[in-house]
Structure formats: structure tokens, C-alpha cells
């Protein structure tokens, strides 16, 4: 009898499927979904703060009163009503005069990234992205068989000199800069006012397109966020956002704002992929924006998240071992921590799970497997007391790991290339 690999299709997969393997870190996140574990690993908004009864009534009426439209196919570009509402939302962020014609509704911001990758990336092309960057974007670029060149950040966001150096290095192979300039995921930093113009100038000089991902801009804790890049330049900037953080990620409604010529191709690419975004979900968002106090709801979120951020930062200051540093986000959902020298956030994961606390190892946010000294901590989902308990557990884990390193010496600087994609080191989207 010959052997079996339990996969009869092994030799037939496309090249981009290579590296899609089971991951022990992914498996550990399975435990993090149990209530005993304080999860600082997710990226979920605190949906319990929504007026769920009122939303429920609204959704019921959508089916009973508007079902002939809301349960039917829609058009590829997305419902005109919703696109108008989206332009109103963008004007609140400072993007004025955008035309609903130039908006394409997508299945979350994620599909917008996928469509842009389909339009602009050939295999081997280079994408410049912050170091670290959003794990879901890394997945999109990997599927497009593009390479990601990370660009350094500091407390003021992308470092202009580092961007120039990266452009010089990769030359014409770079197709665009992918950036989350405001309350960045995972680092929690914001590109400063003065650097925004500088970064845009550098990209313009180099002929580099900019994909601006702005899911968190409305979740500011201290005054308004700086104006988006798209509010400063129309040309060469594609603006991506979503209702996942301001309303409901379960509806999967996002959008991309693009110049006319590109928008046409985005629609065709989207139709090829999904025919049209969910009409029901679009109708739900439209109705929510038209009939419910959504601006007040965002204020509520800001207050809840600010309190939680403060609690997390206070707990980190009180409890973390010496040598640990972290960012101080002015908005968004995440804090990025850097561990004392010699610690390895990925190797430490099982110990953390045993101590009933979870985080995302920094390696999930780099295409090249670096980030072992970092971790992403989420503060949007857990209340202040639970956040503090999570940090207390995490500090204990780090003390144990430091003791271990003291006995056996520091681990090797880098364990070489990762086997799977970055997503193998990050949880699935459902982890709270």
C-alpha cells in the first residue's frame, strides 16, 4: 500500500498557497476564546455598547418593509444612498467634496485592500508598509505574490528619511505605500501633522501611490485626529475605511475612495470577485446612519475606549518588568509593547496561555518574521478591571521568562525565516 498525505491535491495548488500551514500559535489562540483567559489579543470593538434592541427593530423593518430591495442583488459599486452617506462621514473626517460616484462599497476595508492589490500588484512587485503593519494587509499582499518592504516608525509615525531610503533601495519595483497614518494597527502611533505633508511630498516626488487605510480615525481620545492624507491630496491617494469600528464589523461594510478611472476598474474587479456587496448589510448601514444617533454612539465609544486605554497604560506602568516600553495611543484600539532584551513574545505564548492571558506576538505584523520582542495589546474589548488583571498575569509570565533567560542565556537573535505567513502568528478575526 502506498502512503497518503491526506491531501490528494498537494501537487495542484497555486504557488500562492505555499506556506499555508497549521500554526501552533494560531492553535493557542483557540484557548484564548475561553472566558477564563483574559484576551488582549483580539481587535474587536465593544459591540455591547450599541443600542442592540433598537438596531434589532431596525433590521426587522428592513426585511419586512424594504425586503424587495434589501434582500435582492445590488449593483457592484454599492447602493447610491449609502455612497452619499459615506461622503458625509468622510467630510466629518475632513475629506470634503468627495463624489459618491468615486466611492466603491466593499466587504469591509479588507476587500478594498484586496481590490487595490488586484489592480496594482504583479507578482514580485514591492509594497512599502509601516514596520509593523496590519496583519490582514500582509495577507492580501502575500496572496498577490508581492513583497513587503517595511519602513521604520517612531512615536510620530513613519520616519520620512526611512521612507526615502526604502524608495531608493527598491527603485521602480515599489507600487505603493500602504499606510495606516492614524492610531495605527498594531503600533497605536499617529503620523504627526508636520510629517503628513512631508510623507506625501516624498511619495509624489517618487511617483509612489499611497493607500491610506483609516479605520480608526474617528476613535480619537484627545481632540480630533490630524486630517487624513486624502484630505490633503486628491491625486495618487486611495482612501480606505470601514464601518467595522464605528458601527458593526459583523455587517462587513467598508469602502474605498478613488479617482474616476481607478474607480471604474475597482468596480469591475469587485464584480468579478463578489458580484456585489451585501444589499442587506448596506441597507442596514444606510438606515443606521439616517435614523439613529450614530455621532453620539461614536462619542460613547471614544469615552469607553479612552477609559480603557488609561486603565491599560496605568496597569503597564504599575506592573511591567523594568526594560519594557510601550506606545501611548491617542485613539484606536491598540498599544504596542516592546519587551526587555532577551525576551521572545512568540516563544513566550504557551506560558502566557497557561497563565490565562493572551496577546498577539509582534511577528504577526511583519512580513519578514521580525517582531519577536514586541506584542500587540488590545484595550477596546475588556473592561478596566479585566485589563489590569490581564497585565498582572502578563507581568508574571514575563518575570518567569526573564528568570528562564537568566538561567539559559538569551535566545538566539533570530530563529530564521518563518514557515507560514504572518497570519499564522495572529488570531482569526473572531477572537475578541
Amino acid at each position: 500500500m502506498t502512503g497518503t498525505t491526506q491531501d490528494d491535491y498537494t501537487d495542484r495548488y497555486a504557488r500562492r498557497v505555499r506556506g499555508m500551514t497549521a500554526s501552533e500559535i494560531r492553535a493557542l489562540f483557540s484557548v484564548a476564546s475561553r472566558p477564563e483567559v483574559v484576551s488582549l489579543a483580539g481587535g474587536s470593538p465593544y459591540i455591547a455598547a450599541l443600542p442592540l434592541d433598537a438596531v434589532g427593530e431596525m433590521l426587522g423593518r428592513l426585511a419586512s418593509e424594504q425586503g424587495a430591495v434589501s434582500l435582492q442583488y445590488g449593483i457592484g459599486q454599492g447602493m447610491p444612498d449609502l455612497r452619499e452617506r459615506i461622503c458625509e462621514v468622510m467630510s466629518l473626517s475632513g475629506i470634503d467634496g468627495a463624489s459618491p460616484d468615486d466611492v466603491v462599497v466593499t466587504v469591509g476595508g479588507q476587500q478594498a485592500l484586496d481590490l487595490l492589490a488586484r489592480l496594482f500588484l504583479d507578482p514580485g512587485d514591492v509594497v512599502l508598509a509601516e514596520a509593523p503593519t496590519y496583519v490582514g494587509a500582509l495577507g492580501v499582499f502575500q496572496a498577490a505574490q508581492a513583497q513587503v518592504r517595511h519602513v521604520a516608525m517612531d512615536a510620530d509615525g513613519l520616519v520620512p528619511a526611512a521612507l526615502e531610503e526604502a524608495i531608493a533601495q527598491v527603485g521602480g519595483r515599489a507600487k505603493f505605500l500602504y499606510t495606516i497614518p492614524t492610531y495605527q494597527n498594531p503600533a497605536g502611533v499617529t503620523l504627526s501633522e508636520s510629517r503628513r505633508e512631508e510623507i506625501l511630498d516624498i511619495c509624489q516626488r517618487a511617483g509612489l501611490l499611497v493607500v491610506e487605510d483609516d479605520p480608526y480615525g474617528m476613535l480619537s481620545f484627545e481632540g480630533d485626529a490630524p486630517l487624513p492624507l486624502r484630505a490633503r491630496r486628491r491625486d495618487g491617494v486611495f482612501y480606505v475605511s470601514t464601518f467595522s469600528k464605528t458601527f458593526a464589523p459583523g455587517l462587513r461594510v467598508g469602502w474605498v475612495l478613488a479617482p474616476h478611472a481607478v474607480r471604474e476598474k475597482l468596480v469591475m474587479a469587485s464584480e468579478a470577485a463578489i458580484l456585489c456587496p451585501s444589499a442587506f448589510a448596506q441597507a442596514a448601514v444606510t438606515q443606521y446612519l439616517s435614523t439613529m444617533p450614530w455621532r453620539e454612539q461614536i462619542k460613547t465609544y471614544r469615552e469607553i475606549y479612552r477609559e480603557r486605554r488609561d486603565a491599560l497604560l496605568l496597569a503597564l506602568g504599575d506592573l511591567m518588568p523594568a526594560g519594557t516600553t510601550w506606545t501611548h495611543p491617542q485613539g484606536g484600539l491598540f498599544v504596542w509593547a516592546t519587551l526587555p532584551d532577551g525576551l521572545d513574545s512568540k516563544a513566550m505564548m504557551p506560558r502566557a496561555i497557561a497563565a490565562r492571558v493572551a496577546y498577539v506576538p509582534g511577528t504577526g505584523f511583519y512580513a519578514d518574521g521580525t517582531g519577536r520582542r514586541n506584542m500587540r495589546l488590545n484595550f477596546s474589548f475588556s473592561d478596566p478591571a479585566r485589563l489590569r488583571e490581564g497585565v498582572r498575569r502578563l507581568a508574571g509570565v514575563m518575570e518567569q521568562e526573564l528568570a528562564m533567560r537568566a538561567v539559559f542565556g538569551p535566545g538566539p537573535e533570530s530563529r530564521g525565516r518563518r514557515r507560514g505567513p504572518a497570519a499564522a502568528d495572529a488570531p482569526g478575526p473572531d477572537l475578541a
Partner: protein, 363 residues
């Protein structure tokens, strides 16, 4: 030549030495290898009112694997016409079992909850019968150093080892202890958590300089490490199932990971490992493997089903690496592959095991 040692959990270097060569137990009886050509399975027909709860999930590192095992067992039981449901081992479990006691429980939990014997003890207290060995045997098999000591006592070959809690390294100095380990056991070495499965925290160490990092990786999963002499050879798993007429060894499964290492990804990504059923062994070697597997199952007092992991060295002698009292039941797990190779029906086998457990409960 390395002087083989007997390792125990807390004594690092006891003076007693085992036999110089791995020994194979005398074959007093012919090994029983189930397969299409040998033994026909004796399934029992379930009573109409048989109800089963499959336990899966838990808080162990293998939660994800357990959920996959549980779903597969659930499907197979339902496919065989049994009323079955799946539950996590959480705070709602015991009230649920009390209010609606099933005929028997199938434990598809991997890791400490399912395998360290504690849950079985609680089920015993609750008067709920379950498939598999009792709490004491489970505890013994779960702790690899204890299991190895037991095997060595019965002259069942297992690679030389030492088991050390991390405290010992901080007390005595890591460098000194690691040097002694390498001196006595030689290289390469296998480092793994004393308790745990799925290859998590395990590493082959070929160079002494890589040993400290391997120890740190191992101690992230468990406070005690098992360091074992690495035996080159063929990785083989023997599944043991008792349908009522005594434990039988199913055809051995040979494991050939594509990248040479049977780690987590290789275990649970279809396509990364080739499994040969039956293993490509000469008949007399296959018989020896089955015999050693059965001997190990008996030595630890296991019941109903188990999986024995072995290495067959270049001379054709098997060495037992460990025993599993809650073997994986996923699409890429070894016991279901062996069941298939034997020409058995997975669902009927499970139903028979459940029926046996339920009958024990009724005694």
C-alpha cells in the same frame, strides 16, 4: 559508549544503570495484528437508548486539535445511529451530566484535562462511565518520565533519558547540568515537555550550542523537561483497540514528514506528511512492533484504546517514545488512519467501545 541511565522526574543522575542494549520482550505469544487479512472486528450493536457525550475543547494547548477530534468522533457516532452531543470541559459540564447523564462519555480532550487522569477521576466520582483507561493509568501515561520508568521496569525498550524540572537548572547552573546531559546521553538529543502532546515544545538538538534554546522552548510548555537520547530510525505509531476480545494492535502507521520534522504544522496540515499504512517494515519487524505496542499498553494498565508511539531503529528494534490515552481523532491523526488500514469501520468501532464503557457503568 554511553552508559545508559534510568531517569526519574526529580533525581537527575541516579547511579543505577539499565541494560546496555535495548531489549525486546520475549514473544511468548504470537502478536495480534488486526487487519483485513487477520482478525475480523467484533462490533457490538448499540442498544436503542444509547446516548453519548463527546468531551472536546478544554483549556490545553491542544484545544484546537481536540475540537477537531471531537467533531470527527461526533460525526462518526451519529453516522452509526447513536444519539450524541459534544460538550466543552467547562463549569457547565458537571451540572449537565448530573441532570442528563449519558450512557457513556467519549473523552476527545487532549492535554492535561483529558489525559492527566483528573477528569476521569471526577467522572468516576460522578458515576459516569467513559471510554478509555482509568484515572490512575491515565496519569501514569500522561507523565512521560513515569511512563518510561514503568516501561523500563518491564524491560520494554525506551530511549535513555533524564527528566529535569527547570528549578534544578537554576540551582545547579544550566551550563554544568547541560554538559553532564550531553556527556551521558550523547548527541543528537530529543528535548520535550515531560507532559504534553502534538510535538509542542519539542525539538531535536544536534549541536550542544542549540541545547539552551531548546530547553527554554520546552519550559514554555511545561515546568519539567524530558531529555532523551535521539534514536534514528522510522517513526511508527501503533494503535491498540479492545473491542471485547482483548487488546489488538492495528496495522502500524509509518510517519514521513516532508521536511523531516514531525512538528505541529507537519501533524495538522494535510499534505505535509506522508503516512504509510501499514508501515514499510519486514513482517517479523512489524510483528515485533505490534508486540512491543501491546506490551506497553498492558504495562501501563491501559484500557479500550491507546496509541503507542515508537521508533524502529536501523536494526529493526522498536523503542517506545510514549503512550497516548486520548489519541488524536482528526483527519490527519494516526489512530483513524490505522483503523482505515485495518478495514475497520470507525463509527462501529466507537459504538462498540461506548457500549463496553456503558456496560462497565451498569455493573
Amino acid at each position: 559508549m554511553i552508559k545508559p541511565m534510568r531517569g526519574t522526574r526529580d533525581e537527575s543522575f541516579p547511579g543505577s544503570a539499565g541494560s546496555a542494549q535495548p531489549t525486546v520482550p520475549a514473544m511468548s505469544t504470537a502478536p495480534v495484528v488486526a487487519g483485513p487479512a487477520t482478525t475480523a472486528p467484533s462490533y457490538s450493536v448499540p442498544p436503542d437508548d444509547l446516548t453519548v457525550v463527546v468531551l472536546a475543547g478544554g483549556l490545553s494547548y491542544e484545544r484546537d486539535v481536540s475540537l477537531r477530534s471531537g467533531r470527527r468522533v461526533l460525526d462518526a457516532l451519529r453516522g452509526a445511529g447513536v444519539t450524541a452531543s459534544m460538550r466543552d470541559a467547562d463549569a457547565t459540564l458537571l451540572p449537565y451530566l448530573r441532570d442528563d447523564p449519558p450512557s457513556a462519555v467519549v473523552i476527545a480532550l487532549h492535554g492535561a484535562t483529558g489525559e492527566d487522569g483528573s477528569l476521569r477521576g471526577v467522572l468516576d466520582l460522578s458515576g459516569i462511565p467513559y471510554v478509555g483507561c482509568d484515572a490512575r493509568a491515565s496519569r501514569l501515561a500522561w507523565d512521560k518520565p513515569s511512563a518510561k520508568s514503568m516501561l523500563r521496569d518491564r524491560d520494554i525498550p525506551t530511549p535513555d533519558w533524564v527528566a529535569l524540572p527547570h528549578d534544578r537548572f537554576s540551582e545547579l547552573g544550566a551550563v554544568a547540568v547541560l554538559d553532564r546531559i550531553v556527556d551521558r546521553l550523547g548527541l543528537p538529543l530529543m528535548v520535550k515537555p515531560a507532559q504534553g502532546g502534538s510535538g509542542l515544545g519539542a525539538a531535536v538538538v544536534r549541536d550542544a550550542s542549540a541545547l539552551p534554546a531548546a530547553m527554554v522552548g520546552c519550559f514554555a510548555y511545561d515546568s519539567t523537561a524530558l531529555v532523551e537520547r535521539f534514536v534514528p530510525g522510522m517513526d511508527v505509531a501503533v494503535s491498540i483497540v479492545d473491542l471485547g476480545d482483548g487488546p489488538q494492535a492495528l496495522p502500524p502507521v509509518e510517519i514521513v514528514p516532508r521536511d523531516g520534522v514531525y512538528d505541529y504544522a507537519a501533524r495538522y496540515t494535510a499534505g505535509l506528511t506522508t503516512w504509510h499504512t501499514p508501515a514499510r517494515l519486514a513482517p517479523e519487524v512489524a510483528a515485533r512492533v505490534a508486540d512491543v505496542g501491546l506490551a506497553a499498553h498492558h504495562a501501563l494498565g491501559l484500557r479500550d484504546l491507546s496509541r503507542v508511539d515508537l521508533i524502529v531503529d536501523e536494526a529493526g528494534f522498536p523503542h517506545v517514545l510514549g503512550l497516548n490515552v486520548s489519541p488524536g481523532m482528526t483527519e490527519t491523526s494516526l489512530l483513524p488512519l490505522a483503523v482505515q488500514a485495518a478495514g475497520w469501520d470507525f463509527g462501529k468501532m466507537l459504538v462498540t467501545l461506548v457500549g463496553r464503557a456503558a456496560a462497565r457503568g451498569a455493573e
